[in-house]
């Protein structure tokens, strides 16, 4: 159970960070926290229910997260090169 509480805490911290940080890098970091919180929750459920299925899913999440980080950081670097900023409040061109 404690792990679930830890997961919820981690998720909330990530959500708070994602909403409040201004730079894209830190937002990205917070999102990673949320992702790992979800992975932690899966593991704890797996332990509670005595099934290994969720652990397999988490392995996949870790692998995909590695790729996602590469892409995400690449995008941020590309944006920085063009705009010389990563402040999300200044990146508002894509609106309807």
């Amino acid at each position: 159970m404690i792990w679930l509480v830890a997961s919820a805490l981690l998720f909330s911290i990530g959500a708070y960070g994602a909403l409040t940080r201004r730079t894209a890098i830190l937002m990205f970091l917070s999102i990673e926290l949320m992702l790992n919180a979800a992975a932690l929750a899966l593991i704890s459920f797996s332990k509670l229910l005595g099934s290994l299925d969720a652990q397999v899913v988490v392995l996949f999440i870790i692998a995909i997260a590695a790729a996602e980080v590469a892409v995400g950081l690449g995008l941020i670097v590309a944006i920085f090169r063009r705009r010389e900023t990563t402040g999300v409040d200044e990146l508002r061109q894509l609106r309807g």
Partner: protein, 610 residues
């Protein structure tokens, strides 16, 4: 009767010409394209002649459609028609080589011309009604293409459409007749229908209805009252087209169709009476209208209407071989009349108004001779071709009823008058225009020489029995049409009839010759004004049929526009809704994220509370 693959070859030759000239016409060029087209038609003519002399031929492609073979049949009736179509057709092709000289659409013209010959031969040779129908529509298409040959001018294109649309009514009749015959007898082969009709065991009323629908088809194609309005306007095409399609061959297809189905019409007093009335009306209408026209080609077009009326009367009174005989003589003298008109138009650089002609006998001696013979043959002067066929029609009319004979005699008086009016206005008097007339080249004169020979001589194969007891054409044709025995008139009556019609024709020609040279009296001017408008038939149809149809079309168009506007409104509504939703896309990353989290909380809350 022999089975031979040479029979479809007759059709294939002009069809080949159509394809070749259509694809490579520009490269073949002038005048080779014209000669190629003419020689292919001559080939069809010779092949047909050989097969006819061998006693006819048949050919069939079994199971062309389920249960319907593609069958062709060359018997004496279709043979005579084939001789006329391919023979006169060849002469007009040759003449057109001269007439169409220098036209930018030279090879296109001959390609269409060959298409027409091919379609007409399908119509004539077809034994199965669907095959006939292919030819029937094919000649309609060729007619449409050729009337609108100079399509850059709106009037020509409109005339072509008019001809096509009016013909549709007739075509519907043909289709209905086919459907009825199929449901009654289970076959559409004419030679089998003959046997089934003879065998009996069907409803006579239904057969009459089928015959009536066939008649509707024939009325459309042969431009009889009340569907006559398209033929005068069809003169918008080049003159060879008028000569070949709208005088000599295609417009007689309706008469041919009726004669082919003589076994249905014969003995049906309702249908025969109807045909007689329609023929009479057309004969008078055409003749009276012709007397008021100023356009040289429209004069001749209305005379064609009148002569087609004569043929219909012949069919109505049961003189089927006479109808075909008149088709043959008419093909010669009317083609000659048209091509003489064409030569005059050619000589005057495209002038068609007879008020700007006159005196041509001095400038165009050879053409004048052609015109004279055409006038005499058309007016029924003894012993030219037109006299003998018209006289046979009059004799049969007398058997039908002396009143009909008298009316037909009046119609032939009018025929003599319109012929001589055309002649006087074009060739007599002083030249009223400013051109320098020149005689046509040899390539245009020779076909007319040959046609002139036909207009003089072709009548002698159908002399009345009092002169030539067993003439050539009657037994020849009745072998194919079927024997319909009738009482021959007494010798004395027959002689009286012949002499009466001969004397009346001479008197009418002479009176007309004097009358049309002087200044027209006031009553004639008034009559002329009405006749010029075709006695307002077009105006009547416009008021009764065309305008309401147009009004309906415009109404529907408006309704259509309303419907489209409705759809467009729906589209705009959706677009507005979309732009409203697009407002949510603020571009602020934090806003989206907050939205995601709120949604997450709501989802989880829903999951827990459920």
């Amino acid at each position: 009767m022999q089975e031979t693959f040479l029979l479809p070859l007759i059709i294939a030759l002009p069809l080949l010409g159509f394809v070749l000239l259509g694809l490579f016409g520009k490269r073949i060029g002038e005048p080779a394209a014209g000669w190629l087209a003419s020689l292919l038609v001559l080939g069809s003519f010779l092949l047909g002649l050989v097969l006819l002399l061998q006693g006819g031929a048949r050919w069939a492609l079994p199971d062309w459609l389920p249960g319907i073979p593609f069958s062709l049949n060359l018997d004496n009736l279709s043979g005579v028609m084939l001789m006329v179509v391919a023979g006169v057709g060849f002469l007009i092709h040759v003449w057109a080589i001269g007439y169409m000289h220098g036209d930018p659409g030279y090879s296109r013209f001959f390609s269409y011309f060959n298409l027409f010959i091919a379609a007409m031969l399908v119509l004539i040779l077809g034994d199965s009604l669907p095959v006939v129908f292919i030819g029937w529509e094919g000649v309609g298409l060729a007619s449409y293409l050729l009337i609108g040959f100079w399509y850059q001018e709106r009037l020509n294109a409109d005339s072509a459409r008019k001809a096509f649309i009016v013909n549709r009514i007739g075509d519907l009749g043909f289709l209905l007749a086919m459907g009825l015959l199929w449901s009654m007898f289970g076959t559409l082969s004419i030679s089998e229908l003959v046997e089934k009709v003879e065998a009996g065991g069907y409803s006579f009323t239904t057969l009459t209805l089928a015959g009536f629908f066939l008649l509707v088809g024939a009325i459309g194609k042969s431009a009889q009252v009340p569907l006559m309005v398209w033929l005068p306007d069809a003169m918008a095409g080049p003159t060879p087209v008028s000569a070949l399609i709208h005088a000599a061959t295609m417009v007689t297809a309706g008469v041919y169709l009726l004669v082919r189905h003589a076994f249905i019409l014969h003995g049906d007093s309702f249908l025969s009476g109807l045909i007689v009335v329609i023929g009479l009306l057309t004969a008078f209408y055409g003749a009276l209208c012709s007397l008021g026209q100023w356009d040289i080609k429209r004069i001749v077009a209305y005379t064609t209407l009148s002569q087609l009326g004569f043929m219909f009367v012949a069919v109505g009174v049961g003189a089927y071989w006479v109808a075909i005989f008149h088709i043959v003589t008419h093909a010669f003298f009317k083609a000659l009349m048209f091509m003489t008109s064409g030569s005059v138009i050619h000589a005057l650089g495209g002038e068609q108004d007879v008020r700007k002609m006159g005196g041509m006998r001095k400038y165009l001696p050879a053409t004048h001779l052609h015109g004279l013979i055409a006038t005499f043959a058309s007016g029924g002067l003894v012993p030219l071709a037109g006299f003998w066929s018209k006289d046979a029609i009059l004799a049969y009319s007398f058997e039908y009823g002396p009143w009909l004979w008298f009316l037909m005699l009046m119609a032939s008086v009018l025929a003599a008058l319109y012929s001589i009016r055309w002649y006087v206005l074009v060739f007599w008097g002083e030249y009223r225009g400013k051109e320098h007339p020149h005689e046509s080249p040899a390539v245009m004169l020779w076909p007319n020489h040959i046609l002139m020979g036909g207009a003089i001589g072709v009548g002698f194969m159908g002399l009345p029995y009092v002169i030539d007891y067993k003439n050539f054409i009657e037994p020849f044709l009745t072998k194919a049409i079927g024997e319909f025995p009738h009482e021959k008139l007494p010798v004395l009556t027959e002689w009286v009839l012949i002499l009466t019609s001969a004397v009346v024709a001479i008197a009418a020609l002479w009176w007309g010759f004097r009358f049309f040279q002087q200044k027209m009296p006031a009553w004639y001017e008034r009559f002329q004004a009405a006749a010029l408008q075709g006695f307002y038939a077009d105006a009547l149809y416009n008021t009764l049929l065309v305008s309401p149809a147009k009004g309906l079309a415009e109404l529907l168009f408006e309704a259509d526009k309303g419907l489209l506007a409705g759809f467009a409104g729906l589209g705009n509504l959706m677009g507005g809704l979309g732009s409203l939703l697009a407002k949510l896309e603020t571009g602020a990353l934090r806003f989206y994220l907050a939205g995601l989290l709120v949604a997450l909380v709501l989802l989880v809350g829903w999951g827990v509370l459920r």
